[in-house]
């Protein structure tokens, strides 16, 4: 049975860390897993470095930290409501703009056709004035391009719960884990 020496183990652990895996417990899991595979492969007289490169690549699709992202996501998701980015914006829209629209609709329904179906200025104007500011904020949040490091990046998930009330998990890599 081939056993990796301490230098090789340190090298692997350092590389796992350098690839963005910061959770210590996960680092040890991955280290042991990789070591077992490599020790089996090296029995067939392969060189350590190419063998390690091939093994580590088989653990991810794009980068190793996908595993950490997924772990953090699953840990953060416990006892929380998970929303996609678009669901979150729909919720914000409903909370901040919804009341204005509802008020106008309610006015329309209660006023009836005899008062004319056109929403008069006294209803329209406050709607535009009061909903404009939250609407602009929502649009900025929604449309900020990726290169400007948006608060809620594309493909991120939003978790609602207690402490913190809102937690944004940026672009995690669940699909990529499927390999």
């Amino acid at each position: 049975m081939y056993f990796l020496n301490e230098q090789q183990i340190d090298f692997i652990l350092g590389d796992i860390n350098a690839r963005g895996v910061r959770l210590e417990s996960l680092q040890y899991d991955l280290l042991d897993h990789i070591c077992v595979i490599i020790e089996q492969k090296l029995e067939k007289e392969e060189d350590f470095e190419p063998c390690y490169e091939a093994t580590i690549k088989s653990f991810y699709r794009q980068e190793l930290r996908e595993i950490e992202d997924e772990t953090r996501f699953l840990l953060a998701r416990r006892n929380r409501l998970t929303l996609s980015r678009s669901q979150f914006f729909l919720l914000l829209f409903t909370i901040f703009i919804g009341p204005f629209v509802s008020y106008d609709l309610a006015w329309l329904v209660t006023s009836g056709p005899e008062a004319g179906w056109n929403i008069p200025l006294q209803v329209w104007a406050p709607t535009v004035v009061y909903s404009l500011f939250p609407l602009l904020i929502l649009l900025v949040l929604l449309l900020t391009p990726e290169r400007l490091d948006p608060l809620i990046p594309a493909k991120s998930k939003v978790l609602l719960g207690i402490r913190p009330f809102i937690k944004i998990i940026p672009r995690y890599s669940r699909v990529k884990l499927d390999r």
């Binding site: 056993f3 990796l4 301490e6 183990i9 340190d10 652990l13 959770l23 417990s25 996960l26 040890y28 899991d29 991955l30 280290l31 042991d32 897993h33 070591c35 077992v36 595979i37 653990f59 991810y60 699709r61 996908e66 595993i67 997924e70 772990t71 996501f73 699953l74 840990l75 416990r78 990529k176 884990l177 499927d178 390999r179």
Partner: protein
């Protein structure tokens, strides 16, 4: 035939819990190999799916861990907590019932062998 990722992903927690019922304590690599062996290579659990699930199970206190030094590295063994054992029974029962429902729904005739 390898099964689609969606199918495996939806049942991964149940698979892990049931394996830990049968094998008392296991480490990550051992779990992947056991699944391959039991399913004749038809289900291969990726490391990227396994470890996040194990850590989530640990955070939910369904599994407990103990560590062992293998030379300089640490090996983490996972085993079921009392609540994990109850959850395993529940999950297996739920999956069995789901499979019965799918058999009826899709009009699949069970094979005798």
């Amino acid at each position: 035939m390898n099964y689609s990722t969606e199918l495996v992903k939806g049942t991964l927690k149940t698979i892990i819990l049931k394996l830990l019922v049968d094998n008392k304590k296991m480490y990550g690599y051992e779990i992947t190999q056991k699944v391959k062996e039991l399913t004749l290579d038809r289900i291969q659990i990726t490391e990227g799916a396994l470890y996040p699930t194990l850590h989530a199970l640990e955070a939910d206190k369904l599994v407990t861990t103990e560590t062992e030094y293998i030379g300089k590295r640490i090996r983490k063994y996972y085993s079921l907590s009392p609540s994990g054992k109850a959850q395993a029974r529940e999950k297996v029962k739920e999956l069995a019932s789901f499979m019965d429902t799918m058999i009826a729904l899709l009009d699949i005739k069970p094979k005798l062998t």
